[in-house]
């Protein structure tokens, strides 16, 4: 039994020690909004640099920033700025969060394609999401209960929408919470009376984007600053980026990286 035990221990230690691979690994975690930008740029970057291996995980902006604070990721994606209390927590752990803006995005308000409503004011959106308006007939629609779809509280999209559209008021308790942009888009596609909000990159023909305060959610209106529900997208690092992480971030903000971000439906910086 003692020999078996020694063999077992040796095997486990070897398993751990041989993990030190020759390739450079970059781990990216966080916002599902930033995920498509990270994925498209990472694929191209790995083609250009076969010695670098990038793994990407979603989970929401809160998760991405928490992973930077915990030191469990190289890059934390976020679709909202880091909060003051997160900065304090990071500093208490010796982490120095550094923001890198990698693209711009608009939050598109979407309804089912069968819905006759094509424009809403910010006040109408706020009334729907805070529970003051519950039927489409109250805002010029053809009637029927409004099924409100929102994002979970770990989501940066939720936090930005909550700040920009709802003035930080609470979302109605009967709202159906979804964990990703794609889940919101899919639910709105399948539910005739639904309203939701997604990053611009998730605006497809399967959902209908509505104008907000008379402005369409588009790359041009976000770039010009006309569209009010717009935001920067971030990748956070611990201190200034170095080595392979710096090379990757430089690529993301390069013309080629920004072209890939645009291809995913976001607004490039170049």
């Amino acid at each position: 039994m003692k020999n078996i035990r020694k063999l077992f221990l040796a095997a486990v230690l070897i398993l751990g020690l041989t993990g030190s691979a020759f390739t450079e690994d970059i781990t990216i975690k966080g916002s599902t909004t930033v995920y498509p930008v990270a994925q498209a740029t990472a694929e191209k970057f790995m083609d250009m640099h076969p010695e670098v291996r990038i793994s990407i995980q979603g989970g929401g902006s809160g998760f991405g920033i928490a992973a930077i604070i915990d030191g469990t990721t190289d890059i934390g994606n976020a679709s909202r700025p880091i909060k003051d209390k997160e900065i304090k927590k990071a500093l208490s752990k010796g982490i120095d969060p550094k923001a890198h803006v990698v693209a711009l995005d608009g939050i598109a308000v979407v309804v089912n394609p069968s819905n006759s409503v094509s424009a809403l004011t910010k006040q109408q959106i706020k009334d729907i999401y805070t529970g003051k308006t519950s039927n489409w007939s109250e805002i010029g629609g053809s009637g029927g209960r409004i099924v409100v779809i929102s994002r979970d509280s770990a989501s940066g999209t939720f936090e930005t929408f909550n700040k920009l559209a709802l003035d930080k008021e609470r979302v109605r308790p009967d709202a159906l919470l979804q964990a990703s942009n794609q889940a919101v888009a899919t639910t709105v596609t399948k539910t005739p009376g639904a309203i939701g909000y997604v990053g611009l990159g998730y605006l497809t023909s399967k959902v209908k984007g509505v104008d907000v305060n008379g402005v369409e959610a588009s790359k041009d209106t976000v770039r010009s600053g006309e569209y009010s529900l717009a935001r920067p997208l971030f990748m956070y690092t611990d201190g200034p980026a170095k080595g392979a992480v710096k090379k990757y971030l430089d690529f993301v903000t390069s013309s080629e990286g920004q072209r890939l971000a645009e291809k995913q439906g976001y607004v490039g910086l170049k």
């Binding site: 039994m1 035990r5 077992f8 221990l9 095997a11 486990v12 230690l13 398993l15 751990g16 993990g19 030190s20 691979a21 690994d25 781990t27 291996r53 793994s55 995980q57 979603g58 700025p81 880091i82 003051d84 900065i87 304090k88 500093l91 208490s92 752990k93 010796g94 120095d96 969060p97 550094k98 923001a99 890198h100 803006v101 711009l104 308790p173 009967d174 159906l176 919470l177 979804q178 964990a179 990703s180 889940a183 770039r223 010009s224 600053g225 920067p232 903000t253 607004v267 490039g268 910086l269 170049k270």
Partner: protein, 419 residues
Amino acid sequence: MKKISQFLFVLAFVLSCSFFTNLVFAGEVDVLIDKLVEKGILTKAEAQQVATEAKEEARKESIKGSYAALPAWVQNLKLKGDLRLRYQWEDKSSATSSSPDRHRARYRFRLGLESEVNDQLTVAAGLATGGSDSRSTNQTMTGTFQTPDIRLDYAYAEWAATPWMTLRGGKVKSIKKEIFRPSDLLWDSDIHPEGLTIALSKEAGKANFFANTAFWVLGEDGDDTSDPVMWVVQPGFKTKLSDNVKLTAAVAGYFFDNVKGATLDQSAGSNTLENGVLKYNYNSMSPSVKLDIKQPFNIAVLDKMSLFGDFVYNPDPSDKNQGWLAGVKFKMAGPLKIFGKKWDLKYMYRHLEKDAWLDTFPDSDAQGGATDVKGHEIAVSYPLGKNTSLGLDYYLVQNIDASDPERRHVLQVDWKMKF
């Protein structure tokens, strides 16, 4: 390079402005950036990027300044704790005997401190209510307002030796942190082992491979050298099978020295004895698995589902040497939310034979922590607010092989608060 120098210029300006008022700072930066856009040096999108990054940096520097004003020991110190108020009802009966129902009001208070010695070394210690029982920190309300004991709950040092290797020594904070265990079939969650743990972890693609190894001391006798100790080796992995599905699996090998032929403190008295000492060895293999699925089956009432199981096999005895537990946990959402809040529902069935595992370690709420137990557990947890929740836990368990099997109902109603 041109963009970098522009950014550094703007940042330097922003930081110098930040010494004055935020109003001046925001206005002046915007004017400066607008000028750069007007002159065609920056596009509107680039201007947004530079302005946002500069303002974020200034905000961070401002917070850093106020944070740095705190003494170093305060910056490095974390204080946390929790209080649980519990009502517990128990009913025990067998074919030949029955005990009166027992009603207990109980509480548990824990207070912990954690401090960073340096970037790689952390020291933590905690105090808790309860007596010397390693499997419970509850204090029953009794003794005409007696003043209960506070004891050392844990005290350990953690050294993050490399990004993939962490060592912990002392009386560790939680068995959950030491080994992967999706249920309390083998380990009561209140057990805080004493000894040394080495945890290895390595990311490889979408998977994280880990290996938990430990040497834990079970007893020490000054009169001889045959002190009971145990070794644990648990290789495993966790991986994402898709965006919504996560799998964690591991196999633990438990190896004991000087346990056969001895008696152990904290025993529930259910293992087989011969001449008053343990008859068998308990070197065991124990695979564990957990599958987490977000939004399973796309039905609105389920936000998350977890399927989990534990198994244990002890090859020394020829029978009554296996144990298993299967469970499922749901996070209820959509129309099933209560007052707009998601809540958890968990069900487990356990079957732990007499000599499958040492009777010093299993969940103390299931048949008093003994082996030779089978039965059901159902638990509900509802968040009352931030850092506070209400929990209900019901056990219906009975002996597997006893000549006069005892059947036990236990209901616990908990109000938990963390701070």
